[in-house]
């Protein structure tokens, strides 16, 4: 496929006219429905129109979603196949890895998985009705989680992000407008069209809109990003894209930022206990670096090793670097490949490090296939924020303090070996900003049921509404406040 067309999906209607050309990040172009001409149709102006979502029970919603999941099977769904083909020209991820994401898509929508997500992150009772509780002061409260009119700006690294976006919206009975990313312009659309084929009149179909516009297009965004149209924006992705959304945030319009993160790895001295252990550690670390070609924020980039920085320590760190590189080259194609796109400046820095062998050892990287750079001092390379395309930096350190210095609010996942080290660090690392601690090798194995970026997005997507019942015989009535106090209050 050399080019493709991105229609607009507005609550069950497919719009295919008024096409204009757009560029992708990979020097390709595609056509999409002119956002300026149709933006006024995207928003749900009347909030009362969300009532239909509450006429359906969660079980009914799950029925539709389950059917949707089955219909998303890669081999049978031509919309999904088209989305995959569009990614081949617009996305830096290689074909085999993209395919893996699409093959995993139906599993998101299995009934038990969806129930686990709803129950863990919100509580099904709260989604289904009013949950009562009596408070100490005597009042009865009933709390319910309502959906909101939400705009989603998903990341384009793999079709799963679009899948989870549709799923989160439906489970919370939200009204969703999805702004398709340029590097994955058709996956959300494919899901929406499949949903329309299955249940054209179902409320979750009628509360889904998918469109493409160029992020930052003021003509579209200034018109759409207003409290009268949307109540929440869920923004994934890079600093620039999240930052430019913040200018629209105001009372009545909230931002849920799944913002740019980097991840790290900490490996304890136990890794060097035996050659067999070291190989296992290397295999796991290689997976954290290489899975999905390091396009995700979960991937390992800087790997701190508590090897010490004396000669033996450096030797151990270098050996680990060599083994990680070897393992990374052996990762299955479905998980990791030679990157399709590499950052030229990063490659130049790697060559700079390669010739600076007093301070760095570089394993691989001569053919832009990925590389492991082992610092020979306890400092990461100065270009550590550029690490991508399967390039990681091993930093040998003498003590854990050197590691905590490097953890901040931009640190998402930390893969740790061994488990005992993780237990020892788990009460400290969050103070510096770390958000997810996981067993080495599992950084890129993502489960959407767990908190993400130090919050529960599903819970944040809900509006938490309370109904209070105050019986004067049980809850002290303010109007019966004794006079003296009353006077004091009014005098004040």
């Amino acid at each position: 496929m050399s080019t493709f067309t991105v229609p607009m999906f507005v609550r069950g209607q497919l719009i295919t006219d008024n096409l204009v050309a757009f560029g992708t990040r990979l020097d390709h172009s595609f056509h999409a429905v002119d956002p300026a001409k149709h933006v006024h149709t995207l928003a749900l102006r009347n909030p009362a129109a969300m009532a239909d979502l509450y006429a359906a029970s969660l079980e009914e919603i799950l029925d539709v979603l389950q059917e949707l999941g089955q219909a998303l099977a890669f081999e049978r769904n031509s919309y999904i196949q088209e989305a995959y083909e569009a990614c081949l020209v617009s996305n830096p991820m290689s074909a085999s890895i993209l395919r893996t994401g699409y093959i995993a898509l139906p599993a998101l929508f299995t009934r038990e998985t969806m129930r686990e997500l709803a129950e863990t992150q919100v509580g099904i009772d709260y989604l289904e009705g009013w949950v009562p509780r009596r408070l100490l002061d005597g009042r009865e409260i009933r709390v319910r989680a309502f959906g909101a009119r939400t705009l989603h700006i998903p990341a384009g690294n793999g079709g799963l992000v679009s899948g989870i976006t549709v799923l989160r919206s439906a489970l919370t009975r939200s009204d969703a407008i999805i702004k398709a990313p340029s590097n994955d312009p058709l996956t959300a659309m494919a899901i929406a069209r499949t949903l329309r084929d299955i249940a054209p009149d179902h409320p979750i179909t009628r509360h889904l809109a998918v469109a493409y516009w160029k992020g930052g297009d003021k003509a579209v965004e200034e018109q759409l990003y207003k409290p009268e149209n949307i109540e929440k924006i869920v923004a994934w992705g890079g600093l620039a894209s999240v930052k430019h959304v913040t200018r629209y945030i105001q009372p009545g319009l909230e931002l849920i930022a799944l913002d740019p993160k980097r991840s790290a790895t900490i490996i304890g001295p136990e890794a060097f206990e035996s050659e067999a252990v070291l190989r296992e550690v290397a295999r796991r670390a290689a997976c954290d670096v290489g899975a999905g070609n390091q396009e995700g924020c979960v991937n390992a980039r800087v790997i701190y090793v508590l090897s010490g920085t004396d000669e033996a320590g450096l030797q151990n760190a270098n050996r680990l670097g060599e083994l990680i590189y070897e393992s990374m080259m052996g990762l299955p194609d479905a998980v990791s490949t030679k990157p399709k796109v590499v950052d030229r400046t990063l490659l130049e820095h790697i060559e700079g490090s390669r010739i600076t062998d007093d301070w760095y050892r570089v394993y691989g990287g001569e053919h832009a296939e990925g590389a492991i750079i082992v610092s020979q001092i306890d400092e990461p390379v100065h270009y550590s924020t550029m690490l991508s395309g399967r390039v990681a930096n091993i930093v040998p350190v003498n003590s854990i303090e050197k590691v905590t210095d490097a953890i901040n609010a931009y640190t998402q996942t930390i893969g740790i070996y061994p488990e005992s080290l993780k237990v020892g660090l788990r009460d400290r690392l969050p103070l510096f900003g770390a958000q997810r601690l996981t067993s080495l090798g599992y950084a890129a194995s993502v489960n959407f049921t767990i908190p993400q970026d130090a919050m529960e997005p599903l819970r944040r997507m809900c509006k938490w509404i309370v109904d209070e019942e105050c019986e004067p015989s049980r809850v002290f009535p303010l109007w019966q406040t004794p006079d003296a106090v009353r006077q004091a209050v009014s005098a004040h």
């Binding site: 400046t345 820095h349 007093d358 001092i377």
Partner: protein, 472 residues
């Protein structure tokens, strides 16, 4: 070709071309290429011996000798070679280790330099210059570091001499005595001294153009462009990118200079109008040499024209500009505005600090590459050399033969077009680069890993603002 003439060509090109721009750019292409090839073979052999990092790279690649031009391509450095040290060494003032790093990039032996007690980056660099023949130019990057390019005295003397020849001589005419030995005032819309980027050229320019007469050197700003301050600015930018500005460590030596730096910044408000007045009044009728980037030239010109004044230099003055727009969007007619204000011949040049030589634009607007610089075009993705025939567009790379202090192979970040086969109608025989030169990083909407020479003023101000806020 006789060995002696090859040696003169590569060591003293001005002698070889008898100080004539016309001779320099009229040599037959085939003769020049043979000369270049022989010089390349010799220079590589010499540098492989004397520059550790070149030897290591060649050993790794299994290269013991070069023969064809394209043999040089795998041996070229990108800008990263000159900033590959761990920046923690600077933070920790490990000048010994920094010296050891730099030692591997130059033919000179730096191992005996006494760096004990140096307190700032510039003090360390001063020590190196005082005790060895190196002349060090620093230039900026965005990853919290900067590059250090070890030139030497001979290249800086010859380099400035070439500037003088190029700006005052006219191609196709025998140089007159007046062109060979011009007496001029130098106009320098920049800091009056410094180590960083172009400011390092100030003493070299004074030596060449004013014979050391300070009264004939006119700088815009009275302060210095410090490496230490630029390093702080770079670290700030990197810290912001990492979300850790709060953890930025400030060097006490720099913090102690806070008031001095704030005063320098404050002076600039009056220095700009004073400078315009000096240009249009005091230097009226004087023969001048002026050099600056397009945007600074334009800013001064449009400020002057807005005031209703213009410069009126002697007609045999010379102005050299270049450097791309450097991040500033200039109006389409910027050259007209510049020409209107300055009113004399304005030449354009293309240069970068990792090699020697400004390549001047001819009347056709093409930059003619100086004969001692071998041009290469590389595939932007693979870095494989493109054919040296027909019209080609690619990443520009050079092998600079007269680089005697450091390695001459450089891969730039610039996309250029060269027509290898068609001679330029201007009559020069040398390789001509078409006028439109773009940085790949600008094209790709990507991160520029270089703070351009023109942006340094703003960068320096960012650092001073940061110092000011820290104290308040």
């Amino acid at each position: 070709m006789d060995t002696k003439s090859v040696q003169t060509f590569m060591d003293h090109p001005l002698d070889f071309f008898e100080e004539s721009v016309t001779t320099m750019h009229s040599i037959r292409r085939a003769d020049l290429e043979e000369l270049q090839r022989e010089a390349m073979i010799q220079r590589f052999a010499e540098h492989r011996e004397r520059i550790e990092i070149v030897r290591k790279l060649a050993d790794r690649l299994g290269v013991t000798a070069v023969d064809k031009f394209d043999d040089m391509v795998p041996l070229m450095f990108s800008h990263t070679a000159y900033k590959s040290y761990p920046p923690a060494l600077l933070d920790n003032k490990r000048w010994d280790l920094m010296t050891r790093w730099l030692d591997k990039l130059t033919v000179y032996d730096l191992s005996q330099v006494d760096v004990e007690g140096a307190d700032t980056i510039d003090e360390w660099l001063d020590r190196l210059e005082a005790q060895t023949p190196v002349q060090l130019v620093t230039s900026s990057g965005t990853t919290g570091t900067f590059s250090i390019i070890p030139k030497d005295e001979q290249t800086t003397i010859e380099g400035m001499h070439i500037w003088k020849m190029m700006v005052f001589q006219t191609f196709g005419k025998e140089p007159t005595d007046d062109e060979l030995n011009p007496v001029v005032d130098v106009i320098w819309p920049n800091y009056s001294e410094g180590r960083f980027g172009m400011t390092r050229m100030v003493p070299w320019m004074k030596r060449e153009f004013t014979g050391g007469d300070e009264s004939r050197f006119h700088a815009l700003y009275s302060g210095a462009m410090d490496t230490d301050l630029i390093f702080l600015a770079n670290k700030m930018r990197a810290a912001i990118a990492r979300g850790e500005l709060d953890r930025l460590q400030l060097d006490p030596a720099l913090a102690a200079r806070k008031d001095e730096l704030i005063a320098m910044q404050a002076r600039q408000a009056t220095e700009v109008p004073e400078f315009v007045t000096r240009l249009t009044k005091q230097l009226r009728g004087r023969r001048v040499f002026m050099t600056s980037t397009y945007n600074l030239m334009y800013n001064l010109a449009s400020a002057g024209l807005a005031e209703g004044v213009r410069a009126a230099f002697a007609p045999n003055s010379a102005i050299l500009t270049g450097g791309g727009a450097k991040g500033q969007i200039l109006p389409e007619d910027y050259m007209d505005v510049i020409k209107e204000f300055y009113g004399v011949r304005i030449q354009e040049g293309y240069a970068f600090s990792e090699h020697n030589g400004v390549h001047f634009a001819c009347e056709q607007g093409r930059y003619h590459v100086q004969p001692w610089v071998i041009s290469f075009l590389l595939d932007p993705e693979t870095s494989e050399p493109l054919p040296r025939s027909g019209r080609q567009t690619g990443r520009f790379a050079v092998y600079d033969l007269i680089n005697q202090s450091h390695w001459g192979g450089v891969i730039t970040g610039d996309e250029v077009t060269i027509d290898w086969s068609t001679p330029c109608p201007c009559g020069r025989t040398t390789i001509a680069i078409e006028h439109g030169i773009t940085r790949f990083s600008e094209k790709k909407d990507g991160v520029e890993d270089k703070i351009s020479c023109a942006a340094t003023h703003e960068v320096q101000n960012e650092a001073i603002d940061f110092l000011r806020e820290l104290g308040s």
